[in-house]
Symmetry: C2
Subunit: 140 residues, 2 copies
DNA sequence: TATTAAATCTGTAATGATTACAAATATGAA
DNA sequence: TTCATATTTGTAATCATTACAGATTTAATA
């Protein structure tokens, strides 16, 4: 595992975020679980390691991190927010059968485009995703 | 207004959906309000015209319609689902300040691409959207 | 080290969107 | 008309998220 606590601590400090233990734990979890987890998933595992962990803290931390651009909120499913620490522009695939979200490596021109506006609106984030049936569900 | 009840009735019948009065009302509302309304917005106006209208019926109808591909669910905000009857492939822009969702006419290559799979996953829907600050909020 | 203010964390209660469910109503065929 | 089925309705439950206030930790300062 490349990402250790030291790295993560630096990562947060560079973004002007005080690296508390709880925040480091959430960050570490996200680095180790790139499957776009829910708050529930994050909390469930962290509370085992850190029994004092509160779900509200997970919510607060994720809101802080996404506000600072350290993590991305994925709102594909419509029922709950998923989180992704991979902040390089990339797209997602949501399987309608199993609910898994995959990273998809499709390069779309406007992801890397220079003009940061469309129809006069200032673009800050670009999102793209597919829905369908994933490889695994197709063959089973 | 081009879309009248007759047209909508045909539209539903062609898709194999029984054109009940409530369903026609929801469809008519969506045709007349292309601002990507919430269930709340739809219900609030319909219940004025049709006092017996139930919010559950609005939910049921929208679920039926989106299942049949007649309307699109927009899950950009993460807090509530918005509905769009414009089923031509197009993208959206969500303003982080005012919350409005705009249609955006950006043609992205993979929207019209032929191959209906990516990494072995079968693609059924393609979604793209931007987040930022809209024209109106920029100037005010 | 002691003091103190500010930031963070925690647990519980509230909110709000959505769904489950069962009774009421409408529809359509026999 | 009768009966089965589909649809609608209202209420209650669920589930993710937020509000909030008290407890704890942190960091600076004397």
């Amino acid at each position: 595992m490349i990402t250790n606590m030291k790295h993560i601590k630096n990562e947060l400090e560079q973004k002007g975020i005080k690296p508390t233990y709880q925040r480091l734990c959430v960050m570490e979890y996200l680095h180790e679980h790139l499957v776009h987890p829910t708050v529930e998933m994050i909390y469930d595992e962290l509370v085992d390691r850190v029994p004092t962990m509160s779900k509200t803290t997970v919510y607060n931390t994720l809101k802080l991190l996404s506000g600072k651009g350290v993590v991305n909120e994925i709102t594909i499913t419509g029922t709950e927010v998923r989180y992704d620490i991979n902040c390089q522009s990339h797209h997602h695939f949501l399987c309608k059968k199993c609910g898994k979200i995959y990273d998809v490596d499709v390069t779309c021109p406007f992801v890397n485009m220079d003009h940061k506006e469309v129809s006069g609106h200032e673009i800050q984030e670009i999102h793209g995703y597919f829905k369908g049936v994933c490889k695994g569900c197709l063959t089973s």
